[in-house]
Symmetry: C2
Subunit: 150 residues, 2 copies
Protein backbone atom coordinates (compact mmCIF):
# COMPACT_ATOMS: atom_id res chain seq x y z
CA UNK A 1 0.00 0.00 0.00
CA UNK A 2 1.17 3.50 -0.80
CA UNK A 3 2.28 5.63 2.13
CA UNK A 4 0.03 8.44 3.35
CA UNK A 5 1.50 11.79 2.27
CA UNK A 6 1.60 14.49 4.93
CA UNK A 7 2.40 18.17 4.59
CA UNK A 8 3.92 19.25 7.90
CA UNK A 9 3.69 23.01 8.57
CA UNK A 10 5.67 24.88 11.20
CA UNK A 11 7.18 28.34 11.64
CA UNK A 12 10.41 29.09 9.77
CA UNK A 13 10.89 32.85 9.26
CA UNK A 14 8.70 33.58 12.30
CA UNK A 15 11.01 31.76 14.71
CA UNK A 16 12.67 28.39 15.22
CA UNK A 17 12.19 28.03 18.98
CA UNK A 18 10.01 24.93 18.52
CA UNK A 19 12.25 23.16 15.99
CA UNK A 20 12.98 20.22 18.37
CA UNK A 21 9.22 19.73 18.72
CA UNK A 22 8.74 19.85 14.92
CA UNK A 23 11.50 17.22 14.72
CA UNK A 24 9.67 15.00 17.24
CA UNK A 25 6.39 15.33 15.35
CA UNK A 26 7.90 14.61 11.93
CA UNK A 27 9.80 11.63 13.38
CA UNK A 28 6.56 10.36 14.90
CA UNK A 29 4.73 10.65 11.56
CA UNK A 30 7.52 8.85 9.72
CA UNK A 31 7.69 6.10 12.35
CA UNK A 32 3.97 5.61 11.78
CA UNK A 33 4.57 4.99 8.12
CA UNK A 34 3.69 8.40 6.71
CA UNK A 35 5.70 10.16 4.02
CA UNK A 36 6.34 13.73 5.16
CA UNK A 37 6.67 15.81 1.98
CA UNK A 38 7.90 18.90 3.86
CA UNK A 39 10.28 17.12 6.24
CA UNK A 40 12.74 20.03 5.78
CA UNK A 41 10.56 22.12 8.18
CA UNK A 42 11.87 19.98 11.05
CA UNK A 43 15.55 20.33 10.17
CA UNK A 44 17.70 22.46 12.46
CA UNK A 45 19.53 23.75 9.36
CA UNK A 46 16.42 24.52 7.32
CA UNK A 47 17.45 28.11 6.60
CA UNK A 48 20.85 27.18 5.16
CA UNK A 49 19.36 24.10 3.47
CA UNK A 50 16.79 26.27 1.70
CA UNK A 51 19.29 28.95 0.72
CA UNK A 52 20.01 27.17 -2.57
CA UNK A 53 16.44 27.80 -3.65
CA UNK A 54 14.91 31.12 -4.65
CA UNK A 55 11.91 32.42 -2.72
CA UNK A 56 9.74 31.63 -5.72
CA UNK A 57 11.04 28.05 -5.93
CA UNK A 58 10.25 27.52 -2.24
CA UNK A 59 6.74 28.95 -2.66
CA UNK A 60 5.98 26.81 -5.72
CA UNK A 61 7.39 23.66 -4.15
CA UNK A 62 5.31 24.16 -0.99
CA UNK A 63 2.10 24.73 -2.94
CA UNK A 64 2.88 21.65 -5.03
CA UNK A 65 3.40 19.61 -1.84
CA UNK A 66 0.07 20.89 -0.49
CA UNK A 67 -1.68 19.92 -3.72
CA UNK A 68 -0.18 16.41 -3.55
CA UNK A 69 -0.59 15.65 0.16
CA UNK A 70 -3.34 13.49 1.66
CA UNK A 71 -3.50 15.70 4.76
CA UNK A 72 -1.82 18.53 6.63
CA UNK A 73 -0.37 18.54 10.14
CA UNK A 74 0.30 22.12 11.33
CA UNK A 75 2.01 23.01 14.59
CA UNK A 76 0.46 26.42 15.31
CA UNK A 77 1.90 27.42 18.70
CA UNK A 78 4.33 29.92 17.11
CA UNK A 79 2.34 32.50 15.11
CA UNK A 80 3.43 32.37 11.46
CA UNK A 81 2.19 34.05 8.29
CA UNK A 82 3.38 31.13 6.18
CA UNK A 83 1.59 28.50 8.27
CA UNK A 84 -1.65 30.55 8.26
CA UNK A 85 -1.36 30.92 4.49
CA UNK A 86 -0.70 27.19 4.04
CA UNK A 87 -3.68 26.15 6.20
CA UNK A 88 -5.98 28.25 4.03
CA UNK A 89 -4.48 26.73 0.87
CA UNK A 90 -4.93 23.19 2.26
CA UNK A 91 -8.56 23.79 3.23
CA UNK A 92 -9.32 25.32 -0.19
CA UNK A 93 -8.14 21.99 -1.63
CA UNK A 94 -10.27 20.04 0.88
CA UNK A 95 -7.27 18.48 2.59
CA UNK A 96 -7.95 17.15 6.09
CA UNK A 97 -5.91 19.40 8.37
CA UNK A 98 -5.03 19.03 12.04
CA UNK A 99 -3.65 22.01 13.95
CA UNK A 100 -1.68 21.16 17.08
CA UNK A 101 -1.52 24.00 19.62
CA UNK A 102 0.03 24.19 23.07
CA UNK A 103 -2.65 24.82 25.70
CA UNK A 104 -1.08 28.05 27.03
CA UNK A 105 -1.41 29.84 23.67
CA UNK A 106 -4.17 32.22 22.55
CA UNK A 107 -4.96 30.97 19.06
CA UNK A 108 -6.26 33.06 16.13
CA UNK A 109 -10.03 33.17 15.70
CA UNK A 110 -9.42 32.57 11.99
CA UNK A 111 -8.65 29.01 13.16
CA UNK A 112 -10.79 28.57 16.28
CA UNK A 113 -13.86 30.09 14.59
CA UNK A 114 -13.47 28.11 11.38
CA UNK A 115 -16.11 25.34 11.12
CA UNK A 116 -14.59 23.78 7.97
CA UNK A 117 -15.30 20.06 8.29
CA UNK A 118 -11.73 19.28 7.21
CA UNK A 119 -10.21 21.26 10.10
CA UNK A 120 -9.43 19.83 13.53
CA UNK A 121 -7.72 21.71 16.35
CA UNK A 122 -6.01 19.80 19.12
CA UNK A 123 -4.75 21.56 22.24
CA UNK A 124 -2.00 19.68 24.02
CA UNK A 125 0.34 19.89 26.97
CA UNK A 126 2.51 16.85 26.32
CA UNK A 127 3.38 14.26 23.66
CA UNK A 128 0.93 11.94 25.46
CA UNK A 129 -1.78 14.16 23.99
CA UNK A 130 -0.52 14.94 20.48
CA UNK A 131 0.81 11.46 19.71
CA UNK A 132 -2.53 9.60 19.92
CA UNK A 133 -4.19 12.49 18.04
CA UNK A 134 -1.70 12.13 15.19
CA UNK A 135 -2.12 8.35 15.12
CA UNK A 136 -5.87 8.80 14.94
CA UNK A 137 -5.49 11.42 12.17
CA UNK A 138 -3.27 9.06 10.12
CA UNK A 139 -5.69 6.15 10.59
CA UNK A 140 -8.64 8.23 9.40
CA UNK A 141 -6.65 9.44 6.39
CA UNK A 142 -5.75 5.83 5.53
CA UNK A 143 -9.40 4.77 5.68
CA UNK A 144 -10.46 7.73 3.51
CA UNK A 145 -7.69 7.13 0.96
CA UNK A 146 -8.32 3.39 0.66
CA UNK A 147 -12.06 4.08 0.31
CA UNK A 148 -11.40 6.53 -2.55
CA UNK A 149 -9.09 4.00 -4.24
CA UNK A 150 -11.47 1.03 -3.88
Amino acid sequence: MQKIKIYFAGAISAGRELQPLYRAMVDFLQEHDAEVLSAHVARADVLTGESKLTDEQIFRRNLDFIARCDGMVAEVTTPSLGVGFEISEALQRRKPTICLCRKDVFLSRMLTGNRDQNLTILYYESPQEWQPALEDFLNKLRSAVSYRRS
Copy 2:
Protein backbone atom coordinates in the same frame (compact mmCIF):
# COMPACT_ATOMS: atom_id res chain seq x y z
CA MET B 1 -18.77 58.06 -5.84
CA GLN B 2 -18.82 55.09 -3.49
CA LYS B 3 -15.91 54.81 -1.11
CA ILE B 4 -13.23 52.21 -1.75
CA LYS B 5 -13.64 49.35 0.73
CA ILE B 6 -10.46 48.14 2.42
CA TYR B 7 -9.88 45.08 4.59
CA PHE B 8 -7.09 45.98 6.98
CA ALA B 9 -5.27 42.94 8.44
CA GLY B 10 -2.98 43.03 11.46
CA ALA B 11 -2.01 40.72 14.30
CA ILE B 12 -4.51 40.31 17.15
CA SER B 13 -3.96 37.03 19.02
CA ALA B 14 -0.31 36.96 17.93
CA GLY B 15 0.55 40.22 19.70
CA ARG B 16 -0.59 43.83 19.89
CA GLU B 17 2.82 45.54 20.02
CA LEU B 18 2.16 47.34 16.73
CA GLN B 19 -1.37 48.51 17.54
CA PRO B 20 -0.39 52.24 17.41
CA LEU B 21 0.98 51.65 13.93
CA TYR B 22 -2.22 49.83 12.84
CA ARG B 23 -4.11 52.87 14.21
CA ALA B 24 -1.96 55.24 12.14
CA MET B 25 -2.46 53.16 8.98
CA VAL B 26 -6.23 52.84 9.39
CA ASP B 27 -6.48 56.59 10.15
CA PHE B 28 -4.45 57.33 7.01
CA LEU B 29 -6.73 55.13 4.88
CA GLN B 30 -9.86 56.77 6.29
CA GLU B 31 -8.41 60.27 5.82
CA HIS B 32 -7.85 59.30 2.18
CA ASP B 33 -11.51 58.52 1.79
CA ALA B 34 -11.42 54.74 2.11
CA GLU B 35 -13.93 52.76 4.13
CA VAL B 36 -12.03 50.34 6.39
CA LEU B 37 -14.34 47.37 6.95
CA SER B 38 -12.12 45.85 9.64
CA ALA B 39 -11.30 49.09 11.50
CA HIS B 40 -11.60 47.17 14.79
CA VAL B 41 -8.13 45.68 14.14
CA ALA B 42 -6.63 49.09 14.97
CA ARG B 43 -8.53 49.57 18.24
CA ALA B 44 -6.54 49.36 21.46
CA ASP B 45 -9.51 47.55 23.05
CA VAL B 46 -10.07 45.09 20.19
CA LEU B 47 -9.97 42.04 22.45
CA THR B 48 -12.64 43.30 24.86
CA GLY B 49 -14.62 44.78 21.95
CA GLU B 50 -14.68 41.40 20.22
CA SER B 51 -15.55 39.47 23.38
CA LYS B 52 -19.28 39.85 22.68
CA LEU B 53 -18.87 37.77 19.53
CA THR B 54 -18.25 34.03 19.34
CA ASP B 55 -15.15 32.80 17.55
CA GLU B 56 -17.35 31.58 14.72
CA GLN B 57 -19.07 34.97 14.38
CA ILE B 58 -15.68 36.69 14.15
CA PHE B 59 -14.47 34.20 11.53
CA ARG B 60 -17.62 34.57 9.41
CA ARG B 61 -17.65 38.36 9.66
CA ASN B 62 -13.98 38.57 8.61
CA LEU B 63 -14.51 36.28 5.60
CA ASP B 64 -17.58 38.32 4.65
CA PHE B 65 -15.52 41.54 4.87
CA ILE B 66 -12.82 39.96 2.67
CA ALA B 67 -15.45 38.92 0.11
CA ARG B 68 -16.86 42.46 0.05
CA CYS B 69 -13.65 44.51 0.04
CA ASP B 70 -12.08 46.13 -3.01
CA GLY B 71 -8.58 45.45 -1.68
CA MET B 72 -6.59 44.29 1.34
CA VAL B 73 -3.90 46.17 3.28
CA ALA B 74 -1.96 43.78 5.56
CA GLU B 75 0.66 44.89 8.05
CA VAL B 76 2.86 41.77 8.20
CA THR B 77 5.72 42.76 10.52
CA THR B 78 4.29 40.72 13.43
CA PRO B 79 3.94 37.07 12.32
CA SER B 80 0.29 36.02 12.57
CA LEU B 81 -1.62 32.90 11.57
CA GLY B 82 -4.80 34.91 11.06
CA VAL B 83 -3.15 37.47 8.77
CA GLY B 84 -1.48 34.71 6.71
CA PHE B 85 -4.83 32.93 6.42
CA GLU B 86 -6.59 36.15 5.40
CA ILE B 87 -4.02 37.01 2.72
CA SER B 88 -4.55 33.60 1.12
CA GLU B 89 -8.34 34.08 1.24
CA ALA B 90 -8.03 37.55 -0.34
CA LEU B 91 -5.80 36.32 -3.17
CA GLN B 92 -8.14 33.37 -3.84
CA ARG B 93 -10.85 36.00 -4.42
CA ARG B 94 -8.50 38.05 -6.65
CA LYS B 95 -8.42 41.02 -4.31
CA PRO B 96 -5.49 43.38 -4.82
CA THR B 97 -3.42 43.00 -1.64
CA ILE B 98 -0.54 45.09 -0.34
CA CYS B 99 1.64 43.75 2.47
CA LEU B 100 3.53 46.36 4.47
CA CYS B 101 6.61 45.02 6.24
CA ARG B 102 9.24 46.75 8.35
CA LYS B 103 12.65 46.46 6.70
CA ASP B 104 14.31 44.72 9.66
CA VAL B 105 12.00 41.70 9.47
CA PHE B 106 12.61 38.35 7.78
CA LEU B 107 9.37 37.74 5.92
CA SER B 108 7.84 34.36 5.07
CA ARG B 109 8.70 32.93 1.67
CA MET B 110 5.01 32.12 1.27
CA LEU B 111 4.70 35.87 0.72
CA THR B 112 8.06 36.87 -0.79
CA GLY B 113 8.01 33.92 -3.22
CA ASN B 114 4.41 34.44 -4.29
CA ARG B 115 4.18 35.89 -7.82
CA ASP B 116 0.41 36.41 -7.69
CA GLN B 117 -0.22 39.52 -9.79
CA ASN B 118 -2.60 40.84 -7.12
CA LEU B 119 0.10 40.79 -4.42
CA THR B 120 2.46 43.67 -3.67
CA ILE B 121 5.02 43.73 -0.84
CA LEU B 122 6.34 47.04 0.42
CA TYR B 123 9.26 47.20 2.85
CA TYR B 124 9.38 50.40 4.87
CA GLU B 125 11.31 52.14 7.58
CA SER B 126 9.09 55.15 8.16
CA PRO B 127 5.61 56.56 7.39
CA GLN B 128 7.29 58.53 4.59
CA GLU B 129 7.56 55.19 2.81
CA TRP B 130 4.25 53.47 3.61
CA GLN B 131 2.07 56.57 3.22
CA PRO B 132 2.74 57.21 -0.49
CA ALA B 133 2.52 53.45 -1.13
CA LEU B 134 -0.95 53.35 0.41
CA GLU B 135 -2.04 56.44 -1.53
CA ASP B 136 -0.86 54.82 -4.74
CA PHE B 137 -2.63 51.56 -3.82
CA LEU B 138 -5.91 53.44 -3.20
CA ASN B 139 -5.60 55.36 -6.46
CA LYS B 140 -5.05 52.20 -8.46
CA LEU B 141 -8.02 50.53 -6.75
CA ARG B 142 -10.19 53.55 -7.57
CA SER B 143 -9.20 53.38 -11.25
CA ALA B 144 -9.88 49.63 -11.38
CA VAL B 145 -13.23 49.95 -9.62
CA SER B 146 -14.46 52.87 -11.76
CA TYR B 147 -13.34 50.97 -14.88
CA ARG B 148 -15.37 47.90 -13.80
CA ARG B 149 -18.42 50.09 -13.08
CA SER B 150 -18.25 52.04 -16.35
